[in-house]
Amino acid sequence: MITASFTLTANTAQLALTGRWVIRSIAYVNGAAGTLTAWDNSSTAATQSNEAYDNRTVTDPYTRTTTNDDLVGNEQTYTYTGVADEDNTVEADASWPLPIAVSLATPAAGSVSTVTRINTGRGLVLKSTVNATAIVEYEPAL
C-alpha cells in the first residue's frame, strides 16, 4: 500500500495519479470549510466530449390497431397494447461531465477521511474548493 500527500490549490484540479490504481482511502485536510471531489481521468478535465450515438427508448404504454376481415367478411378492428422500443438518438455532448467518484466536505477547518474502493481506469484527479491537503492510500490495480 502506498500513501501519498497532495497539496491542492483552491478550485484547481490536480492530476494526482496516472494509470490503474485502487484508491483505498482519502483524507481531506483543510483550513476552512470546503469540498473535495475526485474523479477518474488522465487529465485535469472534468468533462468528456461524447459523440452522438443511437440507442432505444421505450414507449409505455403503446397501443396499435389493425383492421382485417374475418372469415365471413366482417371488418374487425384489432387493438394490441404493450410497450414499444423505438430508435432514439442521443445527441453529441462536447462537455459531458465525468462521474464524481467520491466527494468529501468539511463544515469548518479540519479533516475528514473515508475508505474508498475507487478503481481508476485512467488516473485520479482531485479538486478542492479551498487550499487543502489530500492524503491518498492506494495500490496497483493491474
Binding site: 500500500m1 461524447n50 462521474p99 485512467r122 490495480a141
Partner: protein, 432 residues
C-alpha cells in the same frame, strides 16, 4: 603482433608463437536447431455452449425463424366472481409469434505465395505444410471472434457494474456491428457507457449476483438444462459465465468470497474452483474482448497480439502481447443461458460447383478446410516496364487457401448478457 607469412620456409629457429588464423577456414556462422515450443493453449470454444441448425439451400438468402411466444402474465392477483348471483368473468388467452432472421457470411484466408527456392535452401523444412496448420488455427479464432461479436451486438441489454447510470442498460443499440464501430453497439455508445462505470467496477461476485438476478427475473432468461449443450454434465439448471482467466482468478480476492468462504477452504494452495450459488458455472476463454479508453474518452479494440520488429531486440520476430491490449482498462464477459443462439452449418456448396471430374481442375469448397494450390497468376515485368500476368505454368509457386462460410442464428438473444467491467488483478484487502 605481426606474424610471418604462411606457409613459411627457412624460418627463424626462435620462432615459436605462430597461432593459426581463426578466420582463415570455412565454418558455419551459427548452428541452427529447429525447436518445437509449446504455446499457451487457446481456451474457449464459442460453438460448444450453443445449439446448431442446418442451412437449407435454394430457399433464399435469409432464414427466418418463427417462434411461438407464450402469452404474458397480466395480473398479480385474480378475483373471480362469486358463484351465487354473479356471471363468470372471462379471460381470452392468445399466443403470439415473433420472427428472427439469420444470414450466412463468408471470408477467405490465404498464406503468402511460397517460392520453391525458399523451400530448397531455407533451414526449416516443409514450411508450406506447416502453414496449413496456422491457417486452420487462424480460422478457428476468426469464427470464435465472429460468434461472440454477433452475440455482443445483438444483445438487448448490457451490464455495467457500479455504473452511475444504472447497472443494466436495456436501451442499448442492437445490430450486427461493423469494423468502423458505427453500427450495433457503436464506439460512440460504448465511450459514453464505459465512462459511467464507477468503482470498483470489476467482475465481482456481487456484480455477477446482480447480473444473474437481472437475467432470471427481468430478462426471463432460461438456464441450461440437462442435455441442452455439449459436455453439459455441469450445466444442469445453471447459467454459464464466459470470462477470462484473469477475471476468474481474481475471485480469490473478492471480499464477498472471503467473508463467506468455508473455514477449511484453502484458496492460497487450491485457488477458487467450482460454481457460484449452484447457479453459475464458468468457462474460461483466451483473448477476451478488451477496450482501451484514451485520454479524450474515445475507445478502441486493440489487437491482442503483435510482433517484435526491432532487429536488435533479443526476441526479434516473436509474437508478444500488444502493449495496448495489456493497457486496456475494460473487459467483456458473457453470462449465457440456454437456447440463445444456434450455430449455422451451411452444408455443402451447390452441386454444380462442388462436383469434380475430368472436365474440372478443382471444385468449390467452403467448409474452411485449408488446402495448397498452385493455381496462381504470376506477375512478370515486360520489356516496356509494364506488368503482365502469367499462369504459374512452371509450378514455381504455391499458396495455402481456404474459404469459409459461416453463420449464427439468433434465437432468444436476451439469454446472453454481456458484462463490461474494469479489469483488475490486484483488488486485495491488503493490511499493509
Amino acid at each position: 603482433m605481426s606474424l610471418p607469412a604462411l606457409p613459411l620456409i627457412d624460418g627463424s629457429p626462435c620462432l615459436s608463437w605462430n597461432p593459426q588464423d581463426r578466420r582463415l577456414y570455412n565454418r558455419l556462422d551459427r548452428w541452427l536447431v529447429e525447436r518445437e515450443v509449446k504455446f499457451r493453449k487457446v481456451r474457449g470454444n464459442w460453438r460448444k455452449p450453443f445449439g446448431s441448425m442446418n442451412w437449407q439451400a435454394n430457399v433464399g438468402p435469409t432464414i427466418t425463424s418463427v417462434i411461438t411466444e407464450p402469452p404474458p402474465v397480466l395480473r398479480q392477483f385474480s378475483f373471480p366472481n362469486r358463484l351465487e348471483g354473479n356471471p363468470a368473468k372471462k379471460d381470452v388467452v392468445q399466443v403470439r409469434e415473433r420472427t428472427t432472421p439469420a444470414y450466412l457470411f463468408h471470408h477467405k484466408f490465404e498464406s503468402p505465395v511460397f517460392q520453391w527456392l525458399s523451400s530448397f535452401q531455407d533451414f526449416i523444412k516443409k514450411k508450406v505444410t506447416k502453414n496449413v496448420d496456422y491457417v486452420m488455427k487462424w480460422q478457428e479464432d476468426f469464427a470464435n471472434q465472429f460468434y461472440r461479436g454477433v452475440m455482443f451486438h445483438q444483445s438487448p441489454a448490457v451490464f455495467y457494474p457500479d455504473s452511475a447510470a444504472g447497472e443494466v442498460d436495456d436501451t442499448c443499440p442492437i445490430g450486427y456491428g461493423s469494423a468502423d464501430g458505427s453500427t450495433g453497439k457503436s464506439d460512440a455508445y460504448l465511450a459514453a457507457a464505459l465512462a459511467n462505470i464507477g468503482s470498483p467496477g470489476n467482475l465481482s461476485i456481487r456484480a455477477l449476483f446482480a447480473a444473474l438476478g437481472y437475467m432470471e427475473e427481468d430478462a426471463k432468461a432460461v438456464p441450461y438444462q440437462a442435455g441442452s449443450a455439449s459436455d453439459d454434465s455441469v450445466l444442469n439448471d445453471k447459467f454459464l459465465c464466459m470470462c477470462s482467466t484473469e477475471a476468474y482468478g481474481n475471485f480469490i480476492n473478492d471480499p464477498y468470497l472471503r467473508e463467506m468462504r468455508p473455514l477449511a477452504a484453502n484458496y492460497i494452495a487450491e485457488g477458487f474452483k467450482g460454481d457460484l450459488w449452484g447457479r453459475v458455472t464458468f468457462s474460461l476463454h483466451s483473448d477476451p474482448i478488451r477496450v482501451l479508453r484514451a485520454g479524450d474518452g474515445s475507445i478502441s479494440f486493440p489487437a491482442p497480439d503483435i510482433i517484435q520488429e526491432n532487429p536488435a531486440a533479443p526476441n526479434f520476430g516473436q509474437t508478444i502481447r500488444n502493449p495496448d491490449y495489456r493497457a486496456a482498462q475494460y473487459e467483456l464477459a458473457f453470462l449465457v443461458g440456454a437456447e440463445a443462439y444456434d450455430i449455422i452449418n451451411p452444408g455443402p456448396p451447390p452441386a454444380d460447383f462442388a462436383a469434380s471430374g475430368p472436365d474440372r481442375i478443382s471444385s468449390l469448397k467452403w467448409n474452411g478446410r485449408p488446402r495448397i494450390t498452385d493455381r496462381i497468376n504470376v506477375p512478370c515485368e515486360t520489356e516496356s516496364d509494364g506488368t503482365a500476368w502469367e499462369a504459374n505454368a512452371y509450378d514455381e509457386f504455391l499458396r495455402v487457401i481456404s474459404y469459409m462460410v459461416l453463420g449464427i442464428a439468433p434465437i432468444t438473444t436476451r439469454n446472453v448478457l454481456p458484462i463490461f467491467f474494469k479489469r483488475s488483478r490486484n483488488l486485495t484487502q491488503s493490511l499493509i
